[in-house]
């Protein structure tokens, strides 16, 4: 069993910096978990605490039901793939991949070498086979006798994957492994990793700052900020029912549009969109809305833009248009607010000209307003 349990895990550095604050999470055996968040949010630290590369200041980490706080990394049955590959530069690919296995064998050491026992030979042969098989799976058989410096970035990452695979661990850990690759390669490797997950059925914990990567890879994702877990759920949950403004703004591209407003009976008064703007809320969507300030969140794909006035649309000015080939992102000034709309190609929209923006509130979200904007929770609606 390779489930992982984190119970109020914290990391405080000497000097008082708290990198992770009381994270409590449970990962099931075989899940693909992605830890995602901006730089410095503590995701890497959390991963390294699972690996044993970082000491645990508080709480417990359990792997397979066993508390591993005091276990050194090599005893935790985990393998890690690093951002910078961390291949041993002075060893061939074959050696890089077999290194961990060689260190763990039962018939190692000078005594066995002298004795040249049969068991030792068999063990070595087994290791060789494992390496070759794994290399074949990753398509790097031709590279086995090369040194890392003779490989491209993508090849190196494959070798790094191979090194982890060969160990057949209970848990795979990935620390932003694709950040150093170009876009196309990244997408290709993503698919490989998913394939890897399918084949091995192992628990995988993956760290990235790229929310798109998280969305495509994760069974469940854990969004973190400033050392605190913001939300842990499936990509759909994080996207469709973000726990707070931060998660809402972090997951999904382009970023959700946020509008300051005041909730009143049946409607939202949003002066920033234009004096006197009142938006009618879909009936029944929010059973109870406390009156008062709230923030409206609307995804760009729910904002329509037309060059001609449309019923219920707000006056806007087109600030910029980013053409993406099959669609466009249009940056608008609506009143004093700035909004982004993702629409189909429309040649009639031109930068600097007037336009009309229609906001579809069907899938909109409301957030509490208050001090720390990002922490404002989403106001529960009838879908919860």
């Amino acid at each position: 069993m390779a489930s992982i349990e984190l119970n109020r895990v914290s990391k405080t550095y000497p000097g008082g910096v708290r990198a992770v604050k009381e994270a409590t999470l449970a990962f099931r055996d075989g899940e693909f978990i992605v830890l995602v968040g901006p730089s410095g949010c503590g995701k890497s630290t959390l991963l390294r605490m699972i690996a044993g590369l970082e000491g645990i200041s508080g709480g417990t980490v359990s792997i397979g039901g066993r508390v591993v706080n005091d276990l050194p990394p090599k005893d935790r049955d985990v393998a890690m793939v690093f951002q910078n590959y961390a291949l041993y530069p002075h060893m061939t690919v074959r050696r890089n991949m077999s290194f961990g296995l060689l260190r763990r064998r039962r018939h190692g050491g000078p005594v066995a070498w002298l004795a040249r026992s049969q068991a030792r030979r068999e063990e070595l042969a087994q290791i060789d086979r494992t390496v070759e098989e794994t290399a074949a799976t990753l398509g790097i058989t031709a590279l086995l006798d090369r040194l890392p410096r003779a490989l491209s970035g993508g090849q190196r990452q494959r070798v790094a994957l191979g090194r982890a695979l060969v160990r057949d661990p209970a848990v795979f850990l990935f620390d932003e492994p694709l950040s150093n690759l170009d876009a196309r390669l990244r997408i290709e490797m993503r698919a490989e990793i998913r394939e890897m997950h399918r084949r091995t059925k192992a628990t995988m914990v993956y760290v990235t700052h790229d929310q798109e990567e998280a969305m495509t890879l994760a069974d469940r994702m854990v969004v973190m900020r400033d050392g605190v877990v913001q939300q842990a759920g499936t990509p759909a949950e994080c996207y469709g029912r973000p726990a707070n403004r931060f998660v809402a703004g972090f997951v999904g591209m382009p970023v959700m549009n946020f509008v300051d407003a005041t909730a009143a009976a049946g409607g939202l008064v949003a002066p920033s969109l234009g004096t006197g703007t009142v938006l009618a809320l879909p009936p029944g969507r929010w059973p109870t809305i406390p009156a008062g300030p709230a923030t409206l969140g609307v995804r760009p794909d729910r904002v329509r833009v037309s060059a001609q006035p449309a019923p219920g649309a707000l006056q806007a000015e087109v600030r910029a248009i980013e053409a993406l080939g099959d669609r466009m992102d249009v940056v608008l000034s609506v009143g004093s607010a700035r909004m982004v709309a993702r629409v189909e190609n429309d040649a009639r929209l031109r930068e600097g000209e007037r336009a009309w923006a229609g906001i579809d509130l069907a899938d909109a979200h409301l957030f509490e307003a208050g001090g720390d904007g990002d922490a404002c929770r989403r106001i529960a609606d009838r879908d919860d």
């Binding site: 000497p14 044993g52 970082e54 000491g55 645990i56 200041s57 706080n69 005091d70 050194p72």
Partner: protein, 780 residues
């Protein structure tokens, strides 16, 4: 590579087997240790001693002899001193007669009178018969506590020599000068020299009249012939400035400096006076003893002979001799005595005599045909006749006398930097200061070792307690605690090493600097002098300040020169030109070399007449009417130190490599951006390259400064600090004090002053650099 591996295995095997052999051979026999040198006698003398000892072992089955020969006399005395300090002195060893007073005063030697008396009474076959030896020579080893020549007998002379001049018969004939008579005078001498200079050699250049070395012993011999001396009846009665002495010295100086070609003028050290004679370009050479004979016997080009010292107002000569002595701490004195008389018996003496190296102290051997032989010199009798008028040249127990005399005489006679009257006056002044110095007085309390140890223990305990307290508090996570333990474990070799090999010696050295301790005696006899050493150094010791001046002069010349050259070389090496690796290796090669050979090499380079430097500079300077300097001759005061600096530049390869590495570490983009901006080369170098090199320059300069404070080996081998004190670097002077005068406390004080100076300079350099250097953080 394979060859290297084979060599290493062979070496270990050889050493291993040898050591095992040594352990096994440690049998029950008594072992006597014999220490001697073989300098001029070379391997032949070595062989003679070895054979003699083996015969001794054969004749005395219960005894074994272990022989140690460190090479030359200088190394011999260093080795002797360390063996004494180690508490394991050799049983039997050479002592030059000049050292008898100081050794005897230190209680290092065993008085031999009782052995001689026992032998005389017993009359057994191997017994020593003192009357068989030349009495004057034996008396050279008597010392009564204040004067040599009388009192207790401290050694049995193995051989001796008197001094005189060797002359080139062919040149004499050519110049029409009659050969020296038995009682020739100084007037005869100088007339011959002048006449010789008028004759020309086969290459058309005129001969030089004579080589006249000005070693203290020889100068005193010269004074003896004029009825004067440096001292009077006792050591505080100085007579060097008497009218007669000054007249004689001045006459010598005039011959040397005022007359062209009469005497050679202060040759380089590489070719001692004796070698000059062998070239066949001088008419006479001396005053030398018999020791040059083996070398001169190899001369094939001309015929030569020997004439004892010329007469002045009286006939005089000196006896230089070496004895076999027994250590006072020997535990086998009776057996050692057996060895001593074996080594000085007639057969041994005859064997030595055949070498030609010295006059046997045994009269019968001297009169035999082992000495009076057909080999050159023809005038063997001349040596023996001179013995009658020869006296032992004695020195006080304080070895500084000879050093001071030597260095001041050099300045008057050799380099000519001072008039003789002034040089003599300086010597007298310094010697009187030495006698009167507070340290010279004595009567100090012993060092309170017990109290000191207790005090240190208390300090350590307090330190430990404080550290324990500071650590309680921050508990560490297990991982971090493990890492910490590993950290201490892995760093422990250095920590332990530091404590044992650095902290402890430094502390001990500090304590020693407050004590007066003659290194030859046990540590327990060290005396506490408080600030005495420092006071003496800073207040009274003029030579200390000279050494400081010499060293600072060197630092100011060598560091800019060396570092500038290294940087320029690195810039040159950074060019992408074909063949750079070859040049790089060639320029770096000198810095992997060292040793006596290299030192001799550079001594030649700076030779005043024949050296490479002056051979190159001569033609360059001649059009301006200038002469290249006599680096280690008369211009040593100004040019001696720069010579060392120039030599140091030869070893610049190491610094060059580091600068090269630094240059290659500068990102090309910086220079490229500047190029695009149109900034010229020189400006680019000054504004980009130099600042980026900042940390590297700092590191190099710092290391260079620290290193130049510690110049020692080159000076030791090349000039020994001479002429005078013009190249007496600080550490060389420290070494003199510690290992030649055995003043360990004084030397420790000097070492501590050096340490403080280095720290101060380092602090100044680092502080002033902090403003100018662009640094990246040292560690995360």
């Amino acid at each position: 590579m394979v060859a290297a591996a084979v060599l290493v295995c062979w070496a270990f095997a050889r050493v291993g087997l040898r050591e095992l052999g040594r352990l096994r051979a440690a049998d029950g026999r008594t072992t006597l240790t014999v220490l001697h040198w073989s300098g001029e006698g070379g391997p032949e003398e070595d062989e003679i001693v070895e054979r003699s000892l083996r015969d001794f072992e054969a004749a005395n089955p219960g005894l074994r002899v272990k022989r140690i020969n460190p090479g030359d006399a200088g190394s011999f005395y260093t080795k002797l001193q360390t063996m004494m300090a180690a508490g394991e002195p050799p049983d039997v060893f050479y002592v030059g007669n000049e050292r008898i007073p100081s050794f005897a005063s230190l209680g290092l030697l065993e008085p031999l009178d009782r052995f001689v008396a026992a032998d005389a009474a017993s009359g057994e076959p191997g017994a020593l018969r003192l009357e068989e030896l030349y009495p004057q020579v034996v008396d050279a080893f008597r010392y009564d506590g204040s004067n040599a020549g009388q009192g207790t007998l401290w050694g049995i002379p193995k051989d001796f020599t008197i001094v005189g001049f060797y002359y080139n018969k062919d040149i004499f004939r050519q110049a029409g000068v009659p050969f020296p008579a038995a009682d020739w005078t100084w007037d005869d001498f100088v007339a011959a020299a002048r006449a010789i200079h008028k004759a020309k050699g086969p290459d058309g250049a005129p001969y030089i009249g004579a080589e006249f070395v000005t070693w203290p012993a020889m100068v005193r011999a010269y004074l003896f012939t004029e009825g004067c001396d440096a001292v009077g009846a006792s050591w505080d009665e100085l007579r060097l400035s008497d009218a007669r002495s000054l007249a004689a010295l001045d006459r010598l100086r005039a011959w040397r400096h005022d007359e062209e070609g009469t005497l050679t003028s202060g040759r380089s050290k590489i070719a001692t006076g004796s070698a000059v004679f062998a070239t066949g370009k001088v008419g006479m050479a001396g005053p030398f003893g018999r020791w040059v004979v083996p070398e001169y016997r190899r001369i094939k080009d001309f015929d030569w002979d020997f004439a004892p010292l010329p007469r002045g107002s009286e006939r005089a000569n000196i006896i230089l001799t070496v004895s076999w002595s027994i250590s006072a701490q020997s535990v086998h004195k009776e057996d050692a005595w057996k060895l001593v008389r074996w080594l000085t018996n007639e057969e041994g003496q005859q064997a030595q005599a055949r070498l030609g190296l010295a006059i046997p102290s045994n009269r019968r051997a001297a009169e035999s045909d082992a000495f009076i032989d057909a080999a050159r010199p023809a005038n063997d009798r001349g040596y023996l006749d001179a013995v009658a008028v020869a006296r032992v040249i004695d020195w006080p127990a304080n070895p500084k006398f000879e050093q001071l005399l030597g260095s001041n005489l050099d300045e008057g006679l050799k380099t000519g930097t001072k008039p003789v009257a002034e040089a003599a006056g300086d010597f007298e002044r310094l010697w009187k200061a030495e006698l009167a110095s507070p340290l010279g007085r004595g009567g100090f309390p012993p060092v309170p070792w017990g109290a000191i140890t207790a005090g240190i223990a208390v300090l350590l305990a307090i330190g430990a307690a404080w550290m324990v307290r500071a650590r309680r508090g921050t508990a560490l996570a297990l991982q971090d605690a493990r890492e910490e333990r590993a950290g201490y474990l892995f760093a422990s070799p250095w920590i332990v090493g530091f404590a044992v090999f650095m902290a402890f010696p430094v502390v001990l050295s500090l304590i020693l600097s407050f004590s007066g301790w003659r290194g030859l005696s046990p540590l327990g006899e060290a005396r506490w002098v408080g600030w005495g050493n420092y006071a003496q150094l800073l207040g009274e010791d003029a030579r200390f300040w000279t050494s400081v001046r010499v060293t600072l002069y060197y630092v100011l010349v060598a560091v800019p020169l060396g570092q500038g050259l290294a940087l320029a070389a690195a810039v040159l090496m950074n060019q992408k030109v074909f063949g750079i690796p070859f040049f790089r290796a060639a320029w770096y090669l000198p810095s992997v070399l060292a040793g006596v050979g290299v030192a001799v090499l550079w001594r030649w380079v700076f030779d005043s007449d024949a050296g490479l430097m002056n051979q190159l500079l001569g033609p360059v300077l001649a059009p301006f009417g200038l002469e290249p300097p006599h680096w280690f001759g008369k211009d040593a005061g100004i040019w001696g130190v720069p010579a060392f600096a120039i030599m140091n530049a030869w070893f610049v390869g190491g610094s060059m490599m580091i600068y090269l590495a630094g240059l290659q570490g500068i990102p090309d983009e910086l220079n490229e951006a500047a190029q695009v901006d149109g900034i010229g080369r020189v400006r680019r170098f000054a504004s980009i390259t130099l600042p980026m090199l900042g940390p590297v320059i700092l590191f190099n300069v710092l290391m260079a400064v620290i290193g130049s404070f510690q110049v020692f080996t080159q000076a030791f081998v090349m000039t020994g600090g001479e002429p005078g004190d013009s190249t007496r670097f600080y550490v060389l002077y420290l070494f003199n004090q510690g290992f030649e005068f055995y003043e360990m406390g004084y030397a420790s004080a000097m070492a501590w002053l050096l340490l403080l100076a280095v720290l101060a300079v380092t602090a100044v350099i680092l502080r002033s650099s902090a403003r100018h250097i662009y640094y990246e953080a040292l560690r995360k």
